[in-house]
Symmetry: C3
Subunit: 425 residues, 3 copies
């Protein structure tokens, strides 16, 4: 495996875990700064109030502290213990309330009484606290002092962008959201894997240009698309990364354009991996593919996940923590993307220069002439020769053959060396 | 359910049951008169001898009485007890015969010794009696007096037609045969359901025009097509109704033109119904789809049945009686056709007026911004917005989504109200 | 069954079994001479050194004797006992060697200790002996006298060709390889079946022209294609025959051009046979379809086998003998090809001359008007009338109907006789 050392991806998640992120604000800036220590990203700031398609950049949110104190003055719900305790984007509050009044602003999960839920109120002015159901049930009928020391002000929306020029301006887009506070699978796994993919790309010569964007969900994607509308046609392949650290099998959700090459490529990578996986049809609900695949944008962007959102109980709770994601699963996810890049970078079309009958491979020393059993590389050469007719690229041929894509890279080299094929595109 | 009261469809079958129908004659006239008491149909008479494509309208058949008497003068086979006892379209007979001679003209079902079979001899001059196998086996070797008091004369072929003009001259054709004597599933279930569909249509404003034809099988369909050849292009959707009252699951037989919209619509209705069903490919054998889907006619007409012809033992026997069909199954069949009409009437195409990224539904108050769980209506709106690109109609979108069609009607209203989509066809 | 008598195909295999064939030489000539006793084939000789596409006709191989003698002078490996004992195409050798030296040139099958493997060294100058693993393990550490009395010289490559002119120059190609020594399923089953197909064709009037080629594998196919490059466009259907005598189910490997008619025809024959079968996609590895379906040739040629190469243990061993193939399986394979020819010869398109509604078959006496049960021939007539619209040939219609092709030949005759359809191509 090409990946750095075996815990590097996980360790970066550990580092990012404590930060209280949101769709705007210092949590995002701090996160991007740590990414910047690994790969050279550009950090963009877009002013509140800017119109982006049908949306407007919201105010920036700053949070310093938040708590609920009981009559004894104990911080019984405490932002300092978990940033999930405050509803993300809560307006400032500072008052005393009855239990009855307080309860209108409390969120818990009855089925998972030890977990704190994750709630937001981005586009509606509101406030609230999240707590475990056990905490909720122990609240006594008294007067509570509540404080949310937050601020909503005209500031900026912040995002990061990594761009690496290749031999061609045709580009591969990788996108991951960066707006979730202390949760690991959603969204730190995507951030850390994407960052290390960037590091991997820096270490090699690439045919395609690569762009990795670290953006707040929804509004960030919309903002990025509005700002870059004129360059979208360069994007030939794209992947939204999310939920890459849990033990579940891979789920690839296809791009809206069903025939996009990225769909065929990732399916082949998953087949070759011999891991269990699902391919799902596009739906207009989920992560930022909702924007990338809106009908007027319609980019060839799919979504790679392990267990999809809402399909594991830890989703959007405090249980999506450092125990829930594991180095081995993160590394496996990383490898799937590396293998995807490997196909993208090597999937060319060739033309067989000896199309009438098979060329005699034996006389060129690349075909074993005695033994009954053909080698895999020989078989791959026969596949390439037979289907390199101008209508099939290497991916098509490898899929049809049932052999792994890797062997075709080797077979192509051999055939090129012996002038049996010529690259056509 | 939109249906009248719960036994209305069944009760009309009870009323029609005693009548001795055939492909021509007073049984058909009497049946059409009873239909006319419920919906305004036009009754057409076409003279015997008229050429209709490769066929000729046959003579009209009148039957007054028929019996076989034993030597004691007892009517041991008696048309008065069941009109199935005489082979339909029998020529007149009045003579004495031996048992041996008689047996050449008797039909029974050895496997179902208590049931009388239904036989016809429309296009070959012949006569005969149908009886239970038990009756047959009890016949003694004696001289029998046989009489069929029938008449075949130059008269008319009679059929009924209901036409209801809609906003457009594009029309929906519903066809049911009316030539079977006392049997309930075949064909009274079709007649009664079709009649009540007509009644339902009268009570509402319709986008499409609707035509319901009540015709004798084969020759009636051929006659109707020959008489209306110039207006067939108006027919955009069509259904042949038959066998709608038994307990079996639904079977929809597709129109010859596989890609006809009616096929996709009825499949969606059956999916949404959550009932068990089969979709069958077109075959050139069955009911009047044989004529509607002949290659030179080729209308978009499918066939809706519960258990298909020849696939239940009661088919074409005296056991297809008032006990064999049930109000609940008839009502369910009725509802399937109502739901089909509902899709036909509402399946338009729209264009998303905010195709670049999602429009912000939240600021319009039609998207819940706090809770994690999206509502079905919200999901339907996202589906419509994403696929309203000029290439997908509402049926396409609803099928792709897996959601029921009904929710899309509501979602469209909401999106239209907020000027997010525009109807294009 | 049209086949000769029940053991004729098998008996011809018995006759050919002892001959030591190779890709060139007297074994091939002797084989072709025996074929010529049954059907008139032309025998072609192509000089060693002739260039055929990327290949060159190799030297001719003559083998007179070969043995390994132990120190007692006993022929412990003896070509006279089985021609598989010598590696096919071995260069001449005559020397004394140690056991250690000898073992470098010995081939056995550890898993099948009683069987002699079949090995060749066509395109690399080498020599060797094949023996049972039991023999190998009993060899003592002594000095062996080895002799291969062979010769490689500028001679010819020999092949045979049967051509039978039909009403049209469009032709059907049948190909079978003839280069294997004493093995029955591979390749004598193909040779004998192909020969008897030739005999069958001679006995009838054919619409298509038929060409059967008896060629050494690979180099023979390449040679034949190079020699006939200008006439390939006449070939409309083709089958490579191999492995037709074992007890396994049929395996048909499709031609590279997936939509070739031969693929649909053989699938229909296999369906109609009610035997178990597999249809396999084209792969560029196997028999001479490798050449016929190379991208610059791309003929509509599929491959009919029972158990495919490498999928039965007896493959390429002495166990592929006269006990391994059975008359009944050979005859069944023969019949599949006869049935394929039957469809090829009868698969025309017709146009319904009464396309508006059904024509009245009853008045023409070809449709039973009383009984409830329709006959298969009547059903076939309805299928033909409905789908004879200029877009479906008889094969399409028969596949869609689920009825056997045979009944359609009869139904067509009846419909033509009554001027209900007209042949269009």
């Amino acid at each position: 495996m090409n990946s750095p050392n075996s815990t590097q991806i996980y360790n970066f998640i550990e580092k990012l875990y404590p930060i209280c992120r949101s769709i705007t604000g210092d949590g995002v800036r701090e996160t991007l700064k740590l990414i910047h220590e690994i790969i050279p990203i550009t950090i963009k700031e877009i002013t509140s109030g800017t119109e982006v398609f049908d949306w407007t950049i919201p105010k920036e949110w700053k949070i310093r502290d938040a708590f609920v104190k009981n009559s004894k003055g104990e911080r019984i719900i405490d932002f300092q213990k978990s940033n999930l305790h405050v509803v993300n984007y809560s307006i400032p509050v500072n008052k005393k309330v009855t239990l009855k009044e307080l309860k209108k602003h409390l969120y818990s999960i009855p089925d998972q009484p030890d977990w704190i839920p994750y709630r937001t109120s981005y586009y509606k002015e509101d406030w609230g606290f999240c707590l475990t159901h056990n905490q909720l049930q122990n609240l006594e009928d008294e007067i509570y002092e509540i404080k949310i020391d937050s601020e909503l002000f005209d500031g900026n929306l912040t995002y990061g962008e990594f761009y690496l020029e290749g031999e061609t301006t045709d580009e591969v887009l990788i996108s991951t959201h960066i707006c979730h506070p202390s949760m690991c699978n959603d969204n730190l796994s995507g951030i850390s894997v994407a960052t290390h993919i960037g590091k991997y790309l820096l270490g090699k010569k690439n045919h395609f240009s690569y762009r990795i964007i670290f953006i707040p969900a929804t509004i960030g994607a919309i903002t990025w698309l509005a700002q870059n509308e004129n360059c979208l046609e360069n994007i030939k392949f794209g992947i939204v990364l999310a939920l890459l650290g849990d033990a579940g099998k891979f789920n690839y959700k296809k791009s809206r354009n069903d025939s996009a090459a990225i769909n065929k490529i990732i399916e082949k990578v998953l087949i070759d991996s011999q891991l269990d996986y699902n391919i799902r049809e596009f739906t207009p609900y989920g992560y930022d593919e909702r924007q990338f695949c809106s009908p007027g944008i319609n980019l060839p962007v799919g979504t790679l996940m392990r267990t999809p959102n809402k399909e594991f109980p830890e989703y959007h709770t405090s249980a999506d923590n450092l125990d829930f994601v594991k180095p081995e699963y993160l590394n496996q996810s990383y490898q799937i993307i590396i293998d995807t890049i490997n196909i993208i970078e090597n999937n060319f079309s060739y033309i067989n220069l000896f199309p009438k009958c098979e060329p005699q491979l034996g006389k060129r020393g690349i075909y074993n002439s005695v033994a009954g059993d053909i080698k895999e590389i020989e078989l791959a050469m026969l596949w390439i020769l037979n289907y390199s007719d101008g209508e099939h690229d290497l991916l098509d041929i490898s899929k049809r053959s049932g052999l792994k894509f890797d062997i075709f890279i080797k077979a192509v080299k051999l055939l090129l060396k012996h002038n049996l094929i010529r690259k056509i595109k």
